[in-house]
Symmetry: C2
Subunit: 179 residues, 2 copies
DNA sequence: GTTATATAGTTATTGTCCATAACCAATAAA
DNA sequence: TTTATTGGTTATGGACAATAACTATATAAC
């Protein structure tokens, strides 16, 4: 790519193959009709943009989702928040502990069940999540502008429809989703 | 939030909290308007369905994407295939070697550049990929049926639009996408 | 031709995210 | 009271992504 403009010369096979290979636009074949492939690439691009949008706060999409759930449902237990986001409770432990260590989340022992904690946002956590919402709104707007209002608006029901349909199919096994 | 509808009853706190917590529909707040979150959950659901669809062949979405690129572009080098899929060449090594070990991929030393290999499918690989296409077509049809033809058809341009727009924004840094 | 630079593939290493199994303490059910 | 279940925890492994550093070739510059 870098080098060799086509010289019109009679380059030998090696050179031709080499150059052709480099310039060639690869054919994606069936991959172009695979929703999973399209989803994966879009999801990665969006996450990268999200990271960039909230870079100042060092928050991952997954952490943002946890903070948002705590904001909207204060008092839930770890298992409940984890379930809501499709995260295994075992993997949720480290996450919530880090948020607690950073002074964003509170774990209040539940009075009537000494096994569990009521999760909520600290003042700092609430303040942060407000800024995260603002920042990620901007990131959201960027995407909306990029693909147009209608396409953007149609995306949500379509994606939720996929999740619902496949979950029903699979006997609603796991739920998942990190961010 | 989530929890506790006011039942008016006087069940004791413990019981009420417990039951309410279990039944409660958690509020997702801003997460419902985050395309990244919707994408992530959909992507995970679709990948799970893909795994299920091709379970008999023990092929991951990423492996499927590699096989498909090799099928449509025989003779590409490792770096080229990796680039096409947004995989780092260093992480691609193990992938291609496993496909080779399983007798699905061929790595033919290039005559004119002794550093590189021309990748292609073996007969077995070609046969397998044909079955993978068929199986994943069925999986694709399942999704198409679930959300309707139009929504399904609109999804591809929308997702590609997102990728293109964000890549342009980000100065086209990395590309990514495993499957 | 020799030197310098770039490239293809590789290894080693690290981090992240998701999954399982096993455990303790506390609660609920029998 | 015995038993089963549940909330949280640790330990551990697998898949995928990212970086640095190396080798052997190949190309470019002198």
């Amino acid at each position: 790519m870098a080098a060799r403009e086509d010289t019109g010369e009679q380059e030998d096979m090696a050179a031709r193959e080499h150059r052709a290979a480099e310039e060639s636009v690869v054919a994606y074949g069936a991959l172009e009709r695979r929703i999973g492939y399209a989803l994966r690439r879009a999801q990665i691009a969006v996450f990268q943009d999200f990271y960039r949008a909230v870079a100042a706060h060092a928050i991952s999409p997954a952490q943002y989702s946890v903070l948002t759930i705590m904001e909207n449902n204060p008092g839930l237990s770890q298992t409940q928040v984890a379930d809501a986001l499709g995260i295994k409770k075992t993997n949720f432990v480290a996450m919530i502990k880090e948020l607690e260590a950073r002074g964003l989340a509170l774990r209040t022992p539940m009075p009537h069940d000494r096994r569990s904690f009521a999760l909520s946002l600290s003042a700092a956590g609430a303040a942060l999540v407000a800024r995260l919402h603002a920042d990620s709104e901007a990131h959201e707007a960027r995407i909306r502008r990029a693909i147009g209002e209608e396409a953007y608006g149609a995306l949500f029901p379509a994606l939720r429809g996929i999740v619902r349909a496949l979950r029903a199919d699979h006997g609603e096994c796991s739920e998942h989703a990190g961010g």
